[in-house]
Amino acid sequence: MSSHREAPEISKDPAADNTDVYAFVSPDKPDTVTLIANFIPGEVPDGAPNFYEFGNDVLYAIKIDNTGDGKPDVTYEFRFQTTIRDTETFLYNTGPIATLDSANWNRPQTYSVTRRTHSGSRVLAKDLACPPCNIGPRSTPNYADLAATAVHPLGHNGQVFAGQRNDPFFVDLGSIFDLGTLRPFENLHLIPTPAAPGVDGLGSLSVHTIALQVPKTDLTRGNAHPTDAAAATSVIGVWATASRRKVTIRGKRNGEALESGPWVQVSRLGMPLINEVIIAMADKDDWNQETPDGDSEFTHYYETPELAGLLPVLYPGVFPNLAALNTSGKKRADLVAILLTGLPSGIVPGFQNFTGATQADELRLNLAVPPAAAPKPNGILDGDLAGFPNGRRLTDDIVTIEIRAIAGVTFPLVDPTFTPDGAAGLVTDGVNTDQHLLDHFPYVGVPISGYDYAPTGF
């Protein structure tokens, strides 16, 4: 969740596994937009002795479509390089790491940022330092301050950060994949147990974050200033990818490998939870390799989502209207619009993030909608037009929003004769926030140290 280990093949390749993508107008710099792509799911903070890092052999990218064709118009590429300072020690660090250039840090990682457009590519920065992982008070004292020095300026009015963070996604992972139970409602489940509060399965775990903040005009079509929410030029589509070289030949020494040939995409993510719970397992690996412009191949999964069929079965008698909708033969045009094309004008008053007829898995953000003074976790479902599915903020309660949408609360947008079940507007996994977020770039919270990490037992 939302795309952690979501497909069979990428679950075996965590360094390239894209877990979440966020895109929002920066609340403290509203002339800019913040794009965040997270990788490496489920990092346990005490993952010693070889702490987590980006893959030197992975091409990470954040892509922006500003013409609605499902193809990237602006791409930011990130390449990492890792060095070993002292080849005579087994240690990640040989003393406290007080600065990013500390000689005590034995395995520093740096990266470059390249911007590609139709007119060519340009290296925006190189040799930028990542922070180390958060090890503990002896190895990484003052970690928050240390990691903050890994926020680097980028071009005009931009910033970039790449390194370990607390996973900002929140979900009761343990319950949802136990036959779709939701702890607050599991007394109503087909196999009932007493209702209980939700548990954030990712709350203590870390990911590796790439966070980018750039002026809005760097991303819009024709560098337009997005001031009119009704204008097509105010909407961008965002997704992230990870690619590996087509050929790898293993070497004999030191893990050396020959890598050759074109980059081949092995992971992608735009909208949350799509490859997780919409796409069938047999197509998940293929989906990860495809490009958004061809996503109409997968439309049938959106039109008749498996989860919509499961809810009335798993919660007998709770979703009668959804059950009737499922058997009516009507296709879920609401989900197709929200997830594949964006919402056209006239559906939600004062809002649109429609990118045209091309069905593409992109996180669509209307840049002309200002940040909300008091963001609501359920975003547009609760009238907050700056929230999901208008882009995605770190505070948006994606699991609740998407379960409710699939349960039918958004179907009246396309069929006013449909009345959602009462439960459809209430259902949730009971985990509604992340506790570690920052109010400034990179917004994603400081990771828990390995020393402080407390695995829960039975």
Binding site: K246, L258, S260, G261, P262, W263, E290, T291, D293, G294
Partner: protein, 111 residues
């Protein structure tokens, strides 16, 4: 639907049995002759590795030896020698060489 991968270049060689007598530009800085010579070398290396200890007769090439240098190895793949299609991976490129003679030599090296 398109896969997000760099475009593939295609080069066609002579029909099986014919000898290459001219050089065809494959791409800036990459000659047809270089590609053939190195495809054989890399292809032989790759396919021969699992059968170390077994005598593998080198293919004979009726061309002058390659005297330039490559910044990195190239890798050749032959899925079906009968088609003559040889996939060559070099740098970030995927070059398709169509040459039944070369493909046949590679296949014979492992058969």
């Amino acid at each position: 639907m398109s896969r997000p991968e760099s475009p593939t270049r295609s080069i066609t060689g002579p029909p099986a049995g014919e000898t290459e007598t001219h050089e065809t530009a494959a791409a800036p800085g990459v000659s047809r002759r270089n590609l053939i010579a190195n495809a054989v070398l890399a292809g032989t290396a790759v396919v021969a590795a699992p059968v170390l200890g077994r005598a593998v007769q080198s293919a004979t090439i009726d061309e002058p030896p390659f005297t330039g240098r490559l910044d990195e190895p190239l890798v050749a793949r032959v899925l079906d020698p009968r088609t003559g299609v040889i996939d060559i991976f070099f740098g970030e490129e995927h070059i398709v060489l169509r040459d039944r003679a070369i493909a046949a030599r590679l296949a014979k090296a492992v058969s």
